[in-house]
Symmetry: C2
Subunit: 173 residues, 2 copies
């Protein structure tokens, strides 16, 4: 990398270079010295960030973000959900759901309807154009996933998905 003895000004003090910094060698056998990527948790964190970024970049042109997309996908599976259900299942704060549903309503992708059982609650339902949007962007979603999983063959993707699902089902959703 960059290695040069260009010490032009201070010959006095033992110049601090990368070499004598490494003077104290790191013991690769010590578990706390493993690289970052040796930690599955950290790997998940980084890959999760990347996945989110890819999704958001893909959704950018639609004016939506990953959170909106998550709400839409959830509504597609369980037509008609109370906002408190969305909050609980998706893990977002109730106050966040308000804005998300506002945006979706503004775009005509979802609709708030009064609950006949409880006038406090509102039932959020997916609209027709919401369904259309999901259908139209399905390819993009698959493309993102494909780009993310890059070097994995179908069988490996299957096992990865199964493993992640096992983790997710435990404590999440």
């Amino acid at each position: 990398m960059l290695e040069s003895a260009g010490s032009s000004t201070e010959p006095r003090e033992p110049v601090i270079t990368r070499e004598n910094v490494t003077a104290k060698p790191i013991d690769a056998h010590e578990p706390w010295m493993r690289g970052l990527h040796a930690d599955t948790g950290y790997l998940l964190y980084r890959l999760g960030l990347r996945s989110g970024q890819l999704f958001n970049a893909c959704l950018q042109e639609s004016g939506l973000r990953l959170r909106h997309y998550a709400v839409l996908r959830f509504l597609a599976t369980t037509d008609g959900a109370l906002q408190r259900e969305l909050s609980a299942r998706l893990g977002y704060d109730p106050s966040a759901i308000v804005g998300l549903v506002d945006d979706l309503e503004k775009l005509g992708f979802a609709e708030r309807r009064p609950s006949p059982d409880d006038r406090r609650s509102r039932i959020v339902v997916l609209s027709e154009s919401g369904r259309d949007f999901l259908r139209d962007t399905a390819d993009d979603g698959l493309r993102v996933t494909g780009e993310l999983l890059g070097p994995l063959d179908p069988a490996e993707r299957e096992t990865l998905h199964a493993l992640l699902l096992r983790i997710a089902e435990d404590g999440l959703n």
Copy 2:
């Protein structure tokens, strides 16, 4: 940009309940109708969030966050790194590195040293107490990972780690 079918005021429709909302059945065979967890990318996103939260909760008592921890771990592997190297390798904005190194310096875990080659650059090195911190918190890190990977047996954790590593090495780092 997007068509909006925002017909919000339609008194003509009969009372909407959860039952007749479900009247329009979802076709589970349509790929865009799969559940949220059917998408590996979204799974990664959610699990990454959870992993980050667990790490941050664990580091909370130290006054550090996951980003600081990432910098420390990286410094432990490649003693003496320029800030721009930290930025490039960790994927954080250069302006973010400034604050992170500030915090680490304030805690005495790292040190900024002038580069003899280029007076613009600063070499960030891990200090002794930084090393101590990494050693002391190694167990916490392992505990977090263990808690996260909960229901997986050692062999499964191994395969999961290998798969994630393959993805991470492609385009990340």
